[in-house]
Amino acid sequence: MTEPRLAAMARSARSVARERAERARQARERAARRARRIRTAWWVVAAAPAFVALLVLIRVAIPDAPTGGADGDRQLSSAVIAALRPDPSLLDSVGRGQGVTPPTPIADQPPLTADGKPLVLYVGAEYCPFCASQRWPLAIALSRFGSFTGLTASRSARDDVYPNTATISFHGSTYVSEYLAFQGVELATNERQGRRYKPLDTLTPEQEAVVNTYNAPPYAAQAGSIPFLDFGNRFLQTGASVSPQLLAGLSHDEIAAEIVNNPDGPVAQAILGSANAFTAALCVLTDGQPGEVCDSPAAAAYQAEVGR
């Protein structure tokens, strides 16, 4: 073998060795990069649950400070008191109204009574925005058969949907009627107490029996939800008949003004229309008494739904 050829072979062997060394170095670097990636990945994967665990620990450690509701003055203004007893012609003109979910008839149930009169049972809570919208038409309808004392101004919770919806509260009120009995139960205030709201009224065993039977399937889709209304075991209203969205941003007096002065507006259409639906149901309970209410166009608006 000639010397130049031997030299060429030696150069080639050195070149192969260099390439191999380079490949080995690249493989080591790649392995090192991969190891770094995997370490980082484990840190990233662990960070998310660790952060959640920290949130849980903070939540457990923080004492439950009571947060006040948006109550303000609980005295009803004269405008609100007047709006709760609107002129009957206003109710007649609104008729069925708009955006109303009327109560559902139920058949063959033992009549619900108190003091020998058909009983209307309302169960709600002051924090609940759907109860807030429900009370307006209910109070208006019941005021056609009797009178309330002790109604107060209230608002739904400020930290729930439809916050601070202006309304009235049945807590501590009295209803007198020669035709009907009414029991309004407000289970809680709009003030936070821990993870719930501060308890207010308690259901009597009789009321609890009604709620357990009729505010549960098959009569209600979701057991125990509020507002719940039982019209003498003849009609049920589970959930609000009027959306609180209509009342968003309105004060008590602005709602009252809408009811009295703007009968074609969405607020009056919904509240007065719903009041007429309740009136039709109440007229079934009272056998059409009093005549000036139950024979009115307002009461006739939902005649088909209540089967009068």
Binding site: R37, A48, A125, P129, F130, V242
Partner: protein
């Protein structure tokens, strides 16, 4: 231009990523479970009767969570966002896409998984500090989103060769 960069810009990448054997089945299974749970919660959201009602329940109360103000984000029900998230992840975790050495594709998969986990953390924060109630169905979705994120991150890191290798 590196080979990876070229692979990322050119249409079908010719190299195949070296994946852990569990990456594809685990990610697909978790995306499917998450999608199923999100569909269930969406159906519940839209068909739940008595929607004009306040649920009265305990600290573990799905209705209180699914009817809360935080159940919507930019007016879109979060359950619907869950469907979008898991459907996207399902598409990104198909075997043919896992095997493609396309850096942007892998970044997109990591990004969508990460976005999901960030949103889940927000939802857990809302449950703990705003709604103050826990929904077990939602918690199941949260666990699936965390699991999917973990699978995607670890599988991406362990891939050898990987689209993230500098060459």
């Amino acid at each position: 231009m590196t080979e990876v960069a070229r692979a990322g810009r050119s249409a079908p990448a010719t190299r195949t990523a070296g994946l852990a054997a569990w990456a594809v089945p685990a990610s697909l299974a978790l995306a499917l479970v998450g999608l199923g749970l999100s569909i269930y919660l969406t159906v519940e959201h839209y068909t739940a009767p008595g929607s004009l009602a306040c649920p009265v329940g305990d600290a573990v109360d799905c209705a209180q969570v699914t009817t809360s103000a935080q159940s919507k984000f930019l007016r879109i029900p979060v359950a619907v966002l869950g469907i979008v998230h898991f459907a996207t992840m399902l598409a990104l975790c198909l075997p043919m896409l896992w095997r493609r050495m396309d850096r942007r594709l892998w970044q997109a998969r990591l990004g969508v998984a990460g976005l999901g986990v960030l949103f889940v953390i927000y939802l857990i924060f809302a449950e703990l500090f705003i709604i103050e109630a826990i929904c077990l169905w939602c918690t199941a979705v949260h666990l699936v989103a965390f699991g999917l994120f973990a699978v995607v991150v670890l599988a991406s890191a362990m891939a050898d060769p990987s689209p993230f290798d500098k060459r």
